[in-house]
Assembly symmetry: C2
Homo-oligomer: 424 residues x 2
């Protein structure tokens, strides 16, 4: 029997309690700390509870803490204290680890304890342990994933029902899939936190999420979605890790993907991770990215794993990680979709094409009219969308051309740019 | 450094050598036994080699044998001997384990050694270890998979190119995806061997593959494929395990699946496994089901796993398994597709519908004409296909009706029957 303490009895915390109770695992929940513990007596039962962290932190018989509070300041204090008290930590908090993981993992190593974070990345999908314990004997040159269910839900609804971004977001909020403040999800930063953890594991170096090229779904509008569909593509928020002979590139951005792509059929709030093993080839792992019991199961299974000591070959156990130095995407060559918002489309196309051709960027196709259902009449002076797809070009070159185009009077706002991805 | 011996230096055996050599793993290949070892000197190098199994079996310094010979009689002898000599066994031989696994696993337990068989099921997909080491704390009420790449390739080619079964099979043979004698693949028995191993692991009881309801792709013709497509379905050879409160049902059969199904997009020679965890929800694992390096990677990763002793919680380590008693599919209710081959379709439809209605089976749709491309004129006296889809009915009832229908003079051969599966 191992004594554990749980911080935070929200939906995931309750799920953890439910699984431990129903499966009769050799785990004793010795204490619970929750802000509103008094209101949760029916779930807590006779487990000692408090809103004071010291109930758990000062109990030397507690070997493992489960941190499921959300937020970042209090969790940081608690995880740090727990590690100082030589307690193992299991957490689902990707923001905390992406932001403060380096000193926390170092502290854990120094104190001979562990941080389990399977539940922090892609919910119920056991990607961390598969990469740590099964695929550690080969190089993984590429990993691509849909790591944020909320935004995948939004993009799916927009496409299926031809609704705008704001409407789809509001629906997601109504269903509890998006938070009142959806910034971390829609900006792409939640996915970037998870990608940083995956990239650190894969490269054996600590990846700062600030080094990831991030664009969010908040820049995607219905025009993009409909045009993508017309061309036979779908837009997904793709998190991507690439390692070419030690040169690591990292991005989270809305990406056009085609029907042969592994992530094509990953709809609604599902998460999925595709990676290629040097020997074992392509793998897709698909599953629930969130939810009370799915995430709770990851917490419990991770905890049992560490309790059994089956972890000696985890990548994070060896030594302190050096910092990674990802390279920028500037040199990357790809096909790009660009949407310009223009006030006068008759004259502007000629100028746009001239500027692009001056930068040696050749255009594969141009599109101006896409029917948006139920949009009604567009006022004459409203900006209209002008979309084009390039042939393969360097990202850096395209960015330079776009900077020049942005200065035109007829341009309203910055151009929106998304890579067009083929099959893997 | 652990000393291992390899039996069989075919494509997978070579892959194992290549990975061990290139990754500098703490493994020493101490000896190789291969029928044609003299012709393989360029790969074997200075590793001691022979065609005599005793080179490995009698070397007490060899702790692990890797059995990659193919066939069943000689592997059985070798694995049994190896276990008697207290050597661990890693094998990709599903036929051997499905046929003789019970005494072999028992012998391994008695002698305190292990049989690793990750590579025997679904090639590079790490399904065995995920079920053993990550999902062992929850019930798995359903598992469905495409466990045979050869037949999935055949079905995909038939659909995409509208070619007949024999043509697609010949193509697969030309590409080395199907063997000269394709019986084990096309009959469904190769998938059944793998399903038996998975079902044993999931249920904690030994499942004899003879208890699995098996139908092969050799009964699927182009008419079925085209009609499925017309209705919005695809035909896949689905291996299925279900456990309803301890009642286990098992089947391998061509199945109609719809576009929302997890296995919808699993094309060509890919393998995939879907399962539902009681807590963690639905998971899809997709990857390469065969091939030299992918299968070899499974062998190597599995071997490292056992060498590190990270196996104490494997389901097969606890005790002797009781035998499982799967129940028949007779009571199962499903929608079915049936194809009758009839000599005279004008009169026969009335008789068929009468017999079905006498068994209280109601018909959802009937179809008689499907255009087969490039088939030319059909002779007047040739049997023609008559297809129908039922409403939900009991398999037992349908089988009884079919038995009665089979006796009609106008029927040519037995009706072909496939369940129509919706979304999971």
């Amino acid at each position: 029997m191992v004594r554990i303490g749980i911080f935070g009895l929200g939906t995931v915390g309750r799920g953890v309690l439910e699984i431990i109770r129903s499966r009769k695992l050799p785990i004793e929940v010795a204490a619970i700390v929750d802000r509103s513990y008094l209101k949760k007596k029916d779930i807590i039962g006779d487990i000692p509870a408090s809103d004071d962290p010291s109930l758990i932190l000062n109990d030397s018989s507690i070997e493992v803490i489960v941190e499921l509070m959300g937020g970042i300041d209090l969790p940081l204090y608690i995880v740090r204290e727990a590690l100082d008290h030589k307690k193992n930590v299991i957490t689902a908090n990707k923001f905390l680890l992406a932001e403060h993981g380096y000193p926390l993992f170092s502290k854990a190593r120094e104190n001979g304890v562990r941080i389990g974070y399977e539940a922090a990345v892609a919910g119920a999908i056991p990607v961390i342990r598969n990469l740590q314990n099964i695929f550690q004997y080969e190089e993984i040159p590429v990993l691509e994933g849909i790591l944020n269910g909320t935004t995948n839900y939004i993009l799916t609804r927009m496409r299926k029902e031809k609704i705008g971004y704001q409407v789809a977001l509001a629906e997601a909020q109504k269903l509890g899939l998006a938070e009142a403040d959806p910034y971390l999800d829609v900006s792409g930063y939640d996915a970037a936190h998870k990608l940083a953890l995956l990239a650190s594991l894969l490269s054996g170096k600590w990846v700062e999420y600030h080094h990831i090229h991030v664009a969010g779904v908040d820049q995607v509008n219905l025009t993009d979605i409909l045009w993508a569909e017309k061309m036979g593509y779908r837009i997904r928020l793709v998190a991507r890790y690439q390692n070419k002979g030690g040169l690591i590139t990292l991005s989270v951005e809305p990406t056009f993907i085609g029907p042969g792509h592994y992530l094509w059929d990953v709809e609604m709030e599902k998460n999925a991770i595709f990676f290629k093993g040097e020997f074992s080839g392509g793998h897709l792992f698909l599953g629930k990215g969130a939810g009370s019991l799915p995430t709770a199961y990851s917490v419990v299974s991770d905890m049992m794993h560490y309790l059994q000591g089956n972890h000696r070959h985890d990548a994070d156990s060896d030594q302190n990680w050096p910092y990674a130095h990802p390279v920028s995407l500037d040199e990357e060559e790809a096909v790009f979709y660009i949407r310009f918002s223009v006030s006068d489309k008759t004259g502007v196309l000629a100028i746009l094409t001239r500027i692009l051709s001056e930068h040696n960027i050749s255009i594969a196709s141009v599109h101006q009219d896409i029917e948006i259902p139920n949009e009604g009449e567009v006022a004459v002076d409203e900006p209209v969308d002008l979309m084009l797809v390039t042939h393969k070009c360097r990202r850096k070159t395209l960015k330079a051309a776009c900077l020049e185009i942005e200065k035109l009077d007829t341009l309203k706002g910055s151009p929106v740019l998304m890579p067009v991805d083929g099959q893997l």
